[in-house]
Symmetry: C2
Amino acid sequence: MSNSLGMLTPGKKVSLKDWDPKDTQDIKNKEEIQQETDQLKERFAELQSKLFTEKKQAVLFVFQGMDCSGKDGVIRHVFSNLNPAGVTVHSFKSPTAEELSHDFLWRAHSVTPGRGYIAAFNRSYYEDVLITRVHGQVSDKLAKRNIKHIKHFEQLLLDCGVKVVKIFLHISKQFQLEKLIDRIEKPHKNWKLDPSDLQERKFWKQYTQYYEDVLELSATKQAPWYVVPSDNRWYRDYTVLRIAVQTLEEMKLSDPDPRPELQSLLPELYKERDKK
Amino acid sequence: MSNSLGMLTPGKKVSLKDWDPKDTQDIKNKEEIQQETDQLKERFAELQSKLFTEKKQAVLFVFQGMDCSGKDGVIRHVFSNLNPAGVTVHSFKSPTAEELSHDFLWRAHSVTPGRGYIAAFNRSYYEDVLITRVHGQVSDKLAKRNIKHIKHFEQLLLDCGVKVVKIFLHISKQFQLEKLIDRIEKPHKNWKLDPSDLQERKFWKQYTQYYEDVLELSATKQAPWYVVPSDNRWYRDYTVLRIAVQTLEEMKLSDPDPRPELQSLLPELYKERDKK
């Protein structure tokens, strides 16, 4: 069904109850993977530096998940060690009037990463086959047509050098409940709560079903979906970091080419240095 | 092969020599169609106004053709009578470094028309399967893959309310020659000439062949290609105008809905008027 990182097999039926949101693959606690996490972060930064100097490829990380699944948190933790000059993060909110006047991929396409860059999408064009479908703004038929458009769009990106990686942060309904209560009880967390989140929670079942559709229909070998158990934040961050590093390792990024012709410029510079 | 407006039948092999660039369909001169042209212009403006108030659909006119085929001219003549608030024109030049760092549809997607708008593209994303192919920057295989991406992209636009109409301005090699000489002989036309146009002219045969590929592979019922004989400017403008009007007629644009509830606001206003 998936490898140890939760990568889905394209075309296979997906049932989210097959994944335990609390799963940590027998890792007992954060401390056990602390050293490896540090190493992964360092490696991720090295690889990003190569990507940035090479300027031939790009990577788009799409993060989806229910409210409270930790999309903000995972972006903060996993991408924080990178050179921010080469990273862009886009949070997709309710579309503006201008955005709504265009096709549903318009706003996302404009912020896809150029060669050399990593982009992280906090929510994405997938909302247009999820929240709109849950609320009946988009019929089942239209949702499936739009998933096809998404696949073509991602294939365009892939063919033009943008690696696409999609990550579903998988939490339990109980976990969300605890988070919502926490956000209301603790004054300093109040800002995180949008009262409408409590309304969306009532559609949990439908969201789950439509997510399963999305995961089944849009997972491809080149633009894979990963299901990441996310009830434990440390395991979530660790897993996403491993996915990120593995993705960039597989891109076979090359070191910048040496330019032997530069050598001939050295004598002049040496001469100036020797004068002092 | 095509109807009287030059619309191509999807999937049919295209041979441009089957069209006479000098064709005027037995119309003798500009005067003969002057009255009809004026009426068409008026109707086009009416339809645009409906499109603009309705704000449900949009139209994208793509203009392609060899150098000197009159892309600028046709846009100036056919679109000049419209409300400019609802029209955008984009000329696609050599891509910038920023544009080149993204997929080839990125720059075009960002300037597609929103609901209510008409956009005219002077050259377009089709250059990415023409000029780049002529100069070997894109292989035959890549060109055909990119034509597929274009078809998917246009289908996305169509599904999201943007009608796509593609117009090939068909001129003879002799006509181009006369235009080039004219642009060099007449000082006030010098600004129109890019010396590289003389180089591109040498690839006439290859351009013709690759245009034929494009026309055959990307003409669809919903996003048709029209071949417009363009050695006679007046016939070219007249034909494009007819295509434009027919396109908007077929969109079944509706008049803005009356809002009966507004009637209740009148008594107050009448009262104020009566006071004077």
